[in-house]
Symmetry: C2
Subunit: 289 residues, 2 copies
């Protein structure tokens, strides 16, 4: 199968590695606006060749859109316009509603699949590409009824070839849930980093004592600002809803400490411990993020 990957970063590059290794892709064509990333992807042999978007779409059986979500919105129509009548486009961004809207009226809408492979690391660019990033993770296919059965089946085959679990969701539900289980984690991690870095300006030694617990909560603060800005923009309302709840709860926690109401902080922490049963699910038994 000829697979064109638009966006040769962490996700696109990691897909290229696995789809070549498992034989799903016979030929990999890369598209990237960044000349340095194009060169790197060729030097690393992530793809067989790089092309402009038009010819790359025309030669593809599958087009994977793995760019930041605002770029997916900008490029989706051009991809559909350029690709063949049997080609399937699959976007793998972290938001869905605006992307769905951008292609809603397109005559080739049925050839387009909205999907979110729930895998990643805090790194970006072609050099961030790693093998087996996706295995045992969830691949969410959104609004499957708006794609043709053939297109959905092809997307399923692709994700299953990466050992992913395929689940289905409405775009709007996806965006709410993603705000809770992914977007808020990144914001709390960025803010934690900012808080500690500000202190570190005057206390050069502070990190000498930082341990793995800190590293774990702050790790996502290394993530790409470009990618995350697009997500905030497209999912602003859901993210604001979650942030408001989060801020309310941390303010409550703060006030309980200030008032010395430790029976209450105990009760809250005991409730929070329930997250343990959820983290026992198989998708968390991996050191990848």
């Amino acid at each position: 199968m000829n697979i064109t990957i638009i966006g040769l970063g962490l996700i696109g590059g990691s897909m290229a590695l696995d789809l070549r290794a498992n034989g799903f892709a016979a030929r990999l064509i890369g598209v990237d606006a960044n000349p340095r990333h194009r060169q790197l992807a060729q030097d690393m042999e992530l793809v067989d060749e790089v092309m402009e978007l038009g010819p790359a779409c025309r030669q593809a059986d599958i087009v994977l859109l793995a760019v930041p979500v605002n770029a997916i919105v900008s490029l989706a129509t051009a991809v559909l316009d350029n690709m063949g009548a049997d080609t399937v486009a699959i976007e793998v961004g972290s938001t869905k509603a605006e992307i769905a809207q951008a292609i809603a009226g397109h005559p080739r809408r049925a050839q387009f699949v909205l999907a979110h492979p729930m895998a990643g690391t805090e790194y970006s660019g072609p050099k961030a590409a790693i093998s087996n990033l996706f295995q045992h993770k969830a691949a969410i296919i959104c609004d499957p009824g708006d794609s043709s059965p053939q297109a959905v089946r092809l997307a399923e085959r692709l994700f299953k070839s990466l050992f992913m679990r395929v689940i289905y969701m409405e775009s709007s539900a996806h965006d709410v849930h993603a705000a809770y289980v992914s977007h808020i984690s990144h914001i709390s991690s960025y803010v934690l980093a900012l808080t500690v870095l500000e202190k570190e300006k005057v206390e050069a030694n502070i990190f000498n004592m930082a341990s793995g617990g800190f590293a774990s909560t702050v790790r996502l603060a290394k993530s790409s600002p470009r990618m995350w800005n697009d997500i905030y923009e497209q999912n602003a309302q859901n993210i604001l809803d979650v942030l408001d709840i989060y801020i309310e709860k941390i303010q409550e926690f703060r006030d309980l400490i200030a008032r010395g109401e430790f029976d209450e902080t105990y009760r809250l922490m005991e409730s929070a411990n329930a997250i343990g049963k959820i983290l026992k699910a198989p998708q968390f038994n991996s050191t990848k993020v």
Copy 2:
């Protein structure tokens, strides 16, 4: 060397495993207020025998105090009163100023060492004990001038036998820094868990899509409420100072998203990325927390 460990949980139990394996301890005596933990520690052969605090201190060359920090404050005097004139007590709690104050006037103050091995996991109790938890991590010795040179040297030998880096700090500085690099991480993680769990009540499926990034930021929410409550109580003022900065920054981040000021969120995330250089330090090159 005879080593008495008071508190047979994650830290005490993990120290028992390594100090036996590396030959530092010839005999390990356990003390724990919880009968189930006493039994478990014996069944798991973490210690050679369990005793009451008095006789356990009298027979020890080193007494390790590895209980929650309020219990360290309560027990420190009894430990000093019961132990021999050549015995050294080392407490390994996560706060320092109140513990230092509790023993300040004791005639055997010089035989007591305040220390904080910066290692742990989100688990607790004897079953949480694991080998090699401490290696390549920092062991902070506080107020070394208030302990005898012999006592400090013995504590250093013990920590170095666990392959730890020993660093020195004033108690008050320790408590400020610990609030930044450890205590705030735990609170943000507890609050993240509470936020998401509340949503999950009405959206049973939400965790189906949670990925490793979420798992990483929320992992510390599994930590022991008892242990953390004591820390909040003893380090309340420093924790409140950090929480106030954190809340101010997350509110700012929220407002920038609400106003669509994405140049500003970009700038903040780019600043936060600087945490990456810190996380490259050798103590983070471990999967343990």
